[in-house]
Each structure stands twice: as C-alpha cells, then as structure tokens.
Amino acid sequence: MSDIIAPTKQAAVEAASVETVALMDQLAGTDIRAESPLYHADLATVAKQGPKAGGVTLQEHKLLGHLVIRGSQDNAGFLAGARAVLGFDLPTQPLTAAEDGTLSVRWIAPDEWLVILPGREAFELENRLREAMSGHVAIVNVSGGQTVLELSGPNARAVLKKSTPYDVHDRNFPVGKVVTTVFAKSQAVIRRTGEQNWELVIRRSFADYLWLWLQDASAEFGLVIKD
C-alpha cells in the first residue's frame, strides 16, 4: 500500500534521482531501408495481385512513430506541457482519443497515453514534450515494438466479433472510442475511426500471427489488401 511507505525513504529516493535520460533518434536515416513488422508478408505485392473487392479491407500503417507518455493527472506541469506541445488536452476521459491531423492520442490508462504520428516527427515531438513537461513523467519511444493495422469495409465488424470478446455494437463502441482488450488471444488497442473503420495497434511479435489470423477470419467475406 502506497500510504505505508515511510516518508523519510520517499524523500531519499527523490533526492537521488538525476536527469540521466539517454535520448536517441531511433530512425537511422532516410536512405536506410526500414522494415515494418509485416515486411516479410510483402503486402504491397499482395495488394497489387490480390482481389480488388471484398467485404474486408486490411491496410498496414507502417513505420509510424509511437510514443508512450506517462504521468499523473494530478501533476499540472505534466498536463500543461502536453497541451502546449500537442495543441490540445490529453484525453483524460477513459476510453477516448484526441486527434489533430496526422497526430493522434489514445487513452490507455489513467496515467498513460499512446501518441501516434509520422515516424520522422517522433524524435522532435519527444524532445519538445521533455522540454515542456515537468515533474514525474516518462516518455518512451516504442515505435519499433508495435505497428498499426486498419480494418475497414462492411464486414470489418464481423471480423472483430470473431476475434475479440469485447462488445463492438454501435451502442457500446461508437466512433472515436478506444479500447485495449483481448484480440485473437493476443492484445490490441482497438480504436473506431469511422462507421466501418477500425484501427488496431498490435505488438510487433504478434504481427505475423495476427496477419495469419486476420486472413483466416476474413476469408469468408473476401479480404482486400490495401497498400
């Protein structure tokens, strides 16, 4: 229980903490070839040669910048810093998201948010956030650890129904809602971006498995790959 930690020890920990965050731009450079978690599936070729019409469309939004931002909602310096850099408030309402152009923020937990933006802008945003935020906060670039898939089409919801125990009915999952839940025995951050559009943030290590799963689950409706 947090209220039982002795106050003297708490003070000692704070005094010892020094600003020793090693910052690194994780992008090697524009001329270096980058491979997304689904690089081996060669979705570009599948998109070119595969069917052009079907009930479900799958697209990988690859090599985006993913930043996990953590901090307490009681910390005014954290919330104000985020607002100054992002241009809007962090969505503090559970299961919501905020979006501005190519930059989107998802509520993950009461003290955790996931920011996704174009890969080349991630390092700059991370630096600006570090500059603007104060207090006990954490910013971690997890771009290499996950990827974004978009499911769309008239049967996309049916594929979700086969994959997750979460209720994806309009009544429970309106456009804009974000839910972290079980997806095909794995885990995904599911966001509804449109009437027939669903965005899945999935782990790199599960990307191949989920690619196979989605092909199987979409087969009866006809799966179209978009590059």
Binding site: M1, A109, V182
Partner: protein, 95 residues
Amino acid sequence: MFYIYCPHCGEHREEEEFHAKGQAHLARPLDPDNCTDHEWGEYLYMRKNPRGLHHEIWIHATGCRKFFNMTRDTVSYEIKEVYKIGERPSVVAAS
C-alpha cells in the same frame, strides 16, 4: 464467465482480461529492519482463506494494466464491489 467492472476504465469487461493477485490490504511493517521475524513472516507469507467475504487485489491485465481491489464471496463467487487502491471497502464482513 465473470463480467467484471474495472474502476479505471469505467465499464464491465470479460473475465479473461483480468488476473487475481491475492489478498488485499496487506500492511507492510513500517520498519522492516527492526521488526521481528514473526511480524515479517506474517506479512510475507500468511494469507487468509475465508469462507465468505474476501478482499482481493485484481489487475486489468490486458486493458489498462491497473490494479484495483475487489470484495468477493468465496462461496457464491459473487462480486460484491470493486474499489480503487487506497480506498476503503464499503462491504465488510460483520465481526
């Protein structure tokens, strides 16, 4: 299947998103260096196994990954209430 309310997400979720993490409200000895072995042993190992109301810690493992407390009936498996860490349970066994 249980349908469990997560106090952080503010809605009910399937049981498979959660994990039970044992007895709640374990008070760590304030001065571990100077407490007796008996006190430390009680804190570290001794757990209740009640028939009836039990206060447990649960985690929303595949959701918000936050811990919370739950008061549960070990006989009927009925979930009496969930409440955040640091809060007091409103449903307690008559003593």
